[in-house]
Amino acid sequence: MSSVALPAQPERIMKELARVWTSLAEEERHQGGPTVLRACAMTLIVATDDEDEESLAASQTLTELMHAHPSRAIVLRSSDRAGEGLSAHVFAQCWKPFGKAQQICCEQIEIAARPDQWLDVGPTVLGIIVPDLPVVVWCRQKSALRSSANDRAQVGLESVLSLATKTIVDTRGIPVPEALARMREWKQRGRIVGDLEWTRLTPWRQTIAHAFEDFDALSELKNIRTVEIAYTDEVAPASALYAAAWLENGIAANAALRREEGFGPGLHRISLKSGNTSIELERTGPTCIRLNVGDKEQQISMAGSSLYELMHEELTVLGPDAVFDAAFEKVGEIRS
C-alpha cells in the first residue's frame, strides 16, 4: 500500500501510519481474515543517495530483512531530483508466511530531500523512530565515508547517525584510508560501527578458526612464519586489511598482501605456513572456498555472502564487537 506524498512532519507521518494500519485491518476484516499483525524489533534507517547504484537491490534486501528483523524502516534518500522541501511516503510491507492465514506487516517510510535540505532530516527522523527499541542506520551514502563532515548534507546525516545504536557501512569500492578515517572518527565518539567488508570475512575467518581447532594446530600457532593474503582488486580492499589485522592479532607474524588473478572481487586466497604444515584457503568459485590443511582438502560453502546475509549477520550483532574492534585498531598500525 502506498500513500501520496506528505510533508515530512513527524505528526503527519505518524497519522498516516495509523491510517495505513486501520485500512489494512479493515481490508482483512472485509475478506474474513484475522487481523494483521504488526511486527517491530527496531527502527532501521537506510540512508541513500543518487550515487547508490544498487539502490534497487538494497530495496529488495530491505524487504527481505523485514522477515527476520521486523522493523519500522525509514529510507532517507538524498537526491538532486527531489522537490522543494522534505516529502514523505508511507507504506506497509506485508506478507503471509507460507501456509499461514495471518498477514504480517512492517512499516516503511520514505523521505526524499535535496542534499542542501538534509539539515532538516534529523528532526523529522527523531520524531518517527520507534521508542524503546534499537535504531540501526544502514549508511549507503558513499559520500558519508569520503568527504569531510562540513557541508550541510553531512551535518544533516550526522544528526541521523547520532540517533543510531549501530551504524552499518560498506567500505567496498571506497578509498580505504578515507573510509577508515571516518569510521575511526565515529568510533572515537563512542558509536558502534559495522562494516560489511568485515562481515564478508566471516566464512574465511570461521574456516581458519575451525582449522586451528582440528589439527594439532594450536601448538603450531607460534611456529607460523608466513602469512599471505591475496586479493583481486587493483588496490588492497578493506577486507584484506581486516583479514591481515585479525590474523596478526592471533599470530606473531606479519601478513604480506598481494594482488592475484582469480575469483573476486575482494579476497582470493589466505595462506598460513609453518615449518611443519600449512593452511590455505582459496576461492574456487563465486560461492566456494577450497581449504587445504597439509595434504587434506575440503570444499567450503561461502554461504552468507549475499547482501541480505551480510546485513542479517550485522543486525544480529547490535552491541559492541570486540573482535572487529581489535582488528580495526590493528589496521591502523598496519597502514602506518
Partner: protein, 510 residues
C-alpha cells in the same frame, strides 16, 4: 602450547562439531533419510562439520560406500528444508560417509564396524571420538548395547557416547531394565536419550520466555493460574505405521515422553544456573512431583479414544481399525487425555489437562495457560448469546505449526457502552524471526557431539514420567473399550469433554 584458539569469535561463529565419527545403526531407515542426514548435511553447508569427521552407516541391506553415498544424496536432496543443495559441499561431505552392511545380531557386523571406524580414523583423524546412534527398531537396543560392550567399542582413547531414540522402554519396568542394561556398558553421562521435542526452538523459547522476562514469573503459580491445557493434535492417521502404532498408542507415543517433558519445561522451577545439570535437575524434580493416579482414579482422570471412519473434506478416511496392519479388533488408543496435578507449593490444585490424538481436525501443538478471572466482574462481554461474564486471560505458547506466543486480554469495544471484548496480542516466532530455525536434529546432534546434554532426557526423568503413566496403562490394559469412540476429524471422544466438565472446565479449540 597456546591456551585457547585466538581466532574464535563466539559472537558470529556458530558452535560446530568437534572431530568425531558417528555410527548410525538403522542407516537405511526413515529417520536417517528424513532427519539425520539432512541435518548433518546442513551442518556441513554451514561450515560446522570439520575435515576430521566420519559417518558410518549400518543396516542389513548390502551396499557399497558409493551406493550408500548416492542413496544419502538423494535423501538429502529430497528432504532438506529451506536450504540450497550445494554440489561441491556435498562432494566433500560425502567423502566422510561410509557403510557397513550387517545383521545386528551377528558379531561379525561389529567387527566390520570396528574395522571401518579404524579406516575412517586413519583417513579422517576423528580423534578416536565415537558417537553411536540407535536409529533401529527398539527391540534391537539391548542387543546393540550388549554387543558394543562385548567388542569393547564402549571404550577408547577418545570419548564414546550413545544416542537412544524413543521409546525408552514400553513401560516402567522395561525402561528401568533398559537403563540398567545401558549402564552396564555406558555410564549415564555418556547416554543421550533423545526427545526431539526438547530440541525444537519454540520449546527452548519457553525457557527464555519464562526466565528471561521478569513480568511472567510472578504470575506463574497456583494463585493466578486456573488451569493449563496442553494439546498435541495430528490431522493425519497412522500413515503406514499401523503395526508399530498398534503396540504404542497415544499415551505411550506422545504423552509419556514429549508432552510430559513439555509440561515439565512449562512448570519447572527456575534453575540456579543455566547448565545441563541444573536444568535437568529441575525438570526431573517437577516430573517426580506429578501426582501418580490410583487405579480407581484412572476412569475419572484419563480418557482413551480411537478414531472411526468419517468423511473429511468430502473424502472418506478409514478408521484406525481399517488401517493397513491394524487388528480389526484393536484396543489401541489413538487419542489419550489426562488430568494431572503437580504436588508442590507452586502448582498444588491446578489441573493440567494433556491430550494427544490422531485424525483430529488440525495439526497443532500448544500450551494454553488460563488465568483466573478478576475477583469482581465489572464488565460484560458481548457474545452471540448476549452479554456474559468476560472470558479470563489466556496465554498460549504455540509449538507448531505457527510457533509463537499469544496473550488474550480484554479491551473496550468501540462505542458508548462499557462493553468489553477479547483481543489477542501475538508474537509470531516464525515471522518475527523469519530466519530459518535450525531443525531439532541439527541442534541435538551438535549438542551430543559437543557433550551438552541439557536438551536430552536423563534416566531419572524417563523413569519418573513412566511412573506417571504406568497406572493408566495398567488399568487400560485390563479394560475393554467400546472403540471407535470418536469420528476422524473431530476433537476426540465425548468422555474427554466430560473429564474437564467435572472440574468445571472446557477444552479450548486450538
Amino acid at each position: 602450547m597456546a591456551d585457547a584458539n585466538p581466532f574464535q569469535d563466539p559472537l558470529r561463529f556458530e558452535r560446530r562439531v568437534p572431530p568425531c565419527a558417528i555410527v548410525i545403526f538403522g542407516a537405511n531407515g526413515d529417520l536417517t533419510k528424513r532427519k539425520l542426514l539432512p541435518a548433518l548435511y546442513r551442518l556441513a553447508y554451514e561450515r560446522r562439520i570439520p575435515q576430521n569427521f566420519a559417518m558410518v552407516g549400518n543396516s542389513r541391506t548390502p551396499m557399497s560406500d558409493e551406493d550408500f553415498r548416492q542413496k544419502m544424496k538423494e535423501s538429502v536432496q529430497k528432504f532438506i528444508e529451506n536450504s540450497p543443495f550445494d554440489e561441491s559441499v556435498w562432494e566433500s561431505f560425502e567423502q566422510t560417509l561410509y557403510y557397513v552392511a550387517g545383521d545386528l545380531k551377528d558379531t561379525r557386523c561389529y567387527q566390520a564396524i570396528q574395522k571401518k571406524l579404524a579406516e575412517a580414523e586413519q583417513q579422517n583423524q576423528t580423534g578416536d571420538n565415537v558417537l553411536y546412534y540407535l536409529s533401529t527398531q527398539p527391540s534391537y537396543y539391548e542387543i546393540v548395547i550388549e554387543q558394543l560392550g562385548k567388542h569393547t567399542m564402549n571404550r577408547g582413547k577418545g570419548w564414546r557416547r550413545i544416542v537412544i531414540e524413543k521409546p525408552f522402554g514400553h513401560d516402567l519396568a522395561s525402561a528401568h531394565k533398559l537403563n540398567q542394561q545401558t549402564h552396564e556398558v555406558f555410564p549415564e553421562e555418556d547416554v543421550y536419550r533423545i526427545d526431539h521435542y526438547l530440541g525444537k526452538e519454540t520449546v527452548q523459547n519457553i525457557l527464555a520466555f519464562r526466565f528471561g522476562n521478569g513480568i511472567f514469573e510472578p504470575l506463574w503459580n497456583r494463585r493466578y493460574v486456573n488451569n493449563v491445557q496442553i494439546t498435541a493434535a495430528e490431522s493425519i492417521g497412522v500413515e503406514g505405521r499401523g503395526a508399530y502404532y498398534q503396540e504404542a498408542g497415544a499415551l505411550r507415543d506422545m504423552i509419556q515422553n514429549h508432552l510430559l517433558q513439555v509440561m515439565a519445561t512449562v512448570t519447572m522451577e527456575p534453575p540456579t544456573v543455566f547448565d545441563a545439570t541444573n536444568v535437568r535437575d529441575e525438570r526431573a524434580k517437577l516430573l517426580r512431583a506429578i501426582r501418580v493416579m490410583k487405579p480407581e482414579q484412572v476412569p475419572l482422570y484419563a480418557v482413551a479414544g480411537q478414531y472411526g471412519p468419517a468423511k473429511i473434506g468430502g473424502q472418506q478416511v478409514p478408521g484406525f481399525r481399517q488401517e493397513e496392519g491394524v487388528d480389526p479388533e484393536s484396543q489401541t488408543d489413538t487419542y489419550a487425555a489426562g488430568t494431572f496435578f503437580v504436588d508442590n507449593w507452586r502448582w498444588a490444585g491446578v489441573p493440567f489437562y494433556i491430550r494427544s490424538g490422531k485424525r483430529l481436525p488440525k495439526r497443532v501443538t500448544d500450551i494454553a495457560i488460563q488465568f483466573n478471572a478478576p475477583p469482581l466482574a465489572m464488565f460484560q462481554q458481548e457474545t452471540r448469546m448476549g452479554p456474559r461474564a468476560p472470558r479470563p486471560n489466556l496465554l498460549v505458547l504455540r509449538i507448531q505449526p505457527e510457533e509463537g506466543i499469544s496473550l488474550r486480554f480484554l479491551s473496550k469495544s468501540p462505542g458508548s457502552g462499557m462493553r468489553v471484548r477479547p483481543v489477542s496480542m501475538d508474537f509470531n516466532y516464525g515471522s518475527s524471526f523469519g530466519e530459518r530455525s535450525p531443525s531439532a536434529y541439527e541442534t541435538l546432534l551438535v549438542d551430543v557431539m559437543t557433550g551438552d546434554p541439557t536438551l536430552y532426557t536423563r534416566q531419572d526423568m524417563v523413569e519418573a514420567s513412566w511412573k506417571v503413566v504406568q497406572p493408566i496403562l495398567d488399568v487400560w490394559q485390563n479394560q475393554k473399550f467400546n472403540f471407535p469412540n470418536y469420528d476422524a476429524g473431530t476433537w476426540g471422544p465425548r468422555e474427554s469433554d466430560e473429564m474437564l466438565a467435572r472440574q468445571g472446565h472446557v477444552w479450548r479449540t486450538p
